[in-house]
Symmetry: C2
């Protein structure tokens, strides 16, 4: 059983973390005993990780879907605690408060620490569990991925956020107008970037963190009433992503809080 865990993906990644990077074995190193020690430690760590990785998120929350998608691509097992953003119960809020005093979702308890901010979480997952990768190898391509991520993360999502729209106006029609304005402005800029960077996905033909940001953004754009047909590149990529198992698994309508009439619909 321990051996099974040792050969699982999280275990192998723990093993990598314990090896100093770029340091070839020193003369006189005892390779085999070193690996034996690592495997024992790995087994313990992976068991802890299995039990302790908890994602606090929300089904339709864009930032939560980003993290779910990254976790699914990397085959990371976790307990999923879904918080309805509308009315979480007191016990859930208390638990979240303990984990994350800011009470923000997503919050990921992993490796004994609590991480917040979806982009910081995706980068952490990449650094601690590098395969399968969600960032390309070349610095320029990595910058392109982060450019897409940040355009969505800071250029669109904060402005479409219902809390922000509600502060703009108490009138629901005006809230929608506000959300659609910022979404379409942001997606117009994104479309220009995608003209240069995209292939089957946002940057070339491999799924990256940029796609983990794009899928929830297009889903939200439609949900908030934007005309997504104006953005054929982004929508084409979204449709390609819906064919990818990690995006199907992590889709809002595949989560426990999906509305009954939408459950299991991957659209």
């Amino acid at each position: 059983m321990n051996i099974m865990w040792c050969s699982s993906r999280p275990a192998l990644i723990c093993l990598k973390r314990q090896l100093p990077q770029c340091t070839p074995p020193q003369p006189g190193s005892l390779i085999l005993p070193a690996f034996r020690i690592n495997f024992r430690t790995v087994s313990t760590m992976s068991e802890k990780m299995q039990h302790d990785t908890i994602l606090y998120g929300g089904g339709v929350s864009s930032c939560s879907w980003r993290v779910r998608a990254a976790m699914a691509i990397k085959n990371i097992e976790y307990k999923h605690v879904i918080l309805s953003t509308k009315a979480p119960d007191e016990a859930t809020l208390k638990k979240l408060q303990e984990i994350n005093p800011l009470r923000q979702i997503p919050a990921l308890y992993i490796d004994g620490n609590t991480l917040t901010q979806s982009v910081a979480i995706m980068e952490y997952l990449e650094e601690t569990r590098p395969e399968p990768a969600i960032y390309p190898k070349h610095p320029l391509n990595r910058a392109q991925v982060r450019q897409v991520v940040e355009l969505i993360n800071s250029g669109i999502q904060p402005l479409q956020n219902p809390t922000v729209a509600q502060r703009y106006s108490s009138d629901e029609a005006k809230q929608k107008e506000w959300q659609v304005y910022w979404i379409e402005k942001g997606l117009t800029a994104l479309e220009k970037i995608l003209e240069k960077t995209s292939g089957k996905y946002c940057v070339g033909d491999e799924v990256t963190a940029a796609d983990c940001a794009l899928a929830p953004q297009i889903f939200a754009a439609r949900r908030f009433g934007a005309d997504i047909n104006k953005f054929p590149l982004a929508v084409g990529i979204y449709n390609n992503l819906l064919e990818v198992e990690a995006f199907r698994q992590s889709h809002p309508f595949n989560q426990a809080d999906a509305p009954d009439d939408k459950r299991g619909q991957i659209v």
Copy 2:
């Protein structure tokens, strides 16, 4: 002259980029010829970099200061094209349009490519010019840095942006109220994070990308009328940063577009 360039910081970093990471020399490798080839290439690249690195930014633009601070910490030379966000002339706009079709600042032309989004630029600079580092080594500390960066980059800056405030209301008093509300809400959350992560600076006692985000945010908070005295940790760090040469150099009031009555005042 070529040799001088080879030993400059950018040149050494180019050299690192050309060497595959974590690959010890194979049996039979010819180390010296390999280095000779690299040095020739590096010399050409560094000369191109010297002439071609151009930052399009604005003195008081928060995102531009982030990039200026990172460039100053890393001693990267560049030509600085300052765009007044109020009334850039046609020639400047045309040049920016060529460099960045989105017409957004900051835009950094570097290594033959144009990069946008301040966070993507800071990460690119770190990956291509790793010393002096602006991200810590340990993944958890790196996540803490990115958590601060993203809280500011997506949780505060987009909402305080004058364009957004102007869409909220044409009344200047209401614009200010909107900006102060989001700044103080964000800085309240930031203060809780800093309780756990900060030392002399945002994360421990070394200057990081988190500080490149924090300094412009505190400067902007005061500029937009927020009561920064409510946030003693953030303000304490800001004051420490104003003692750091890279932050003094890159300060808005040390840029060409500083108002005459503020020029050179590092506050």
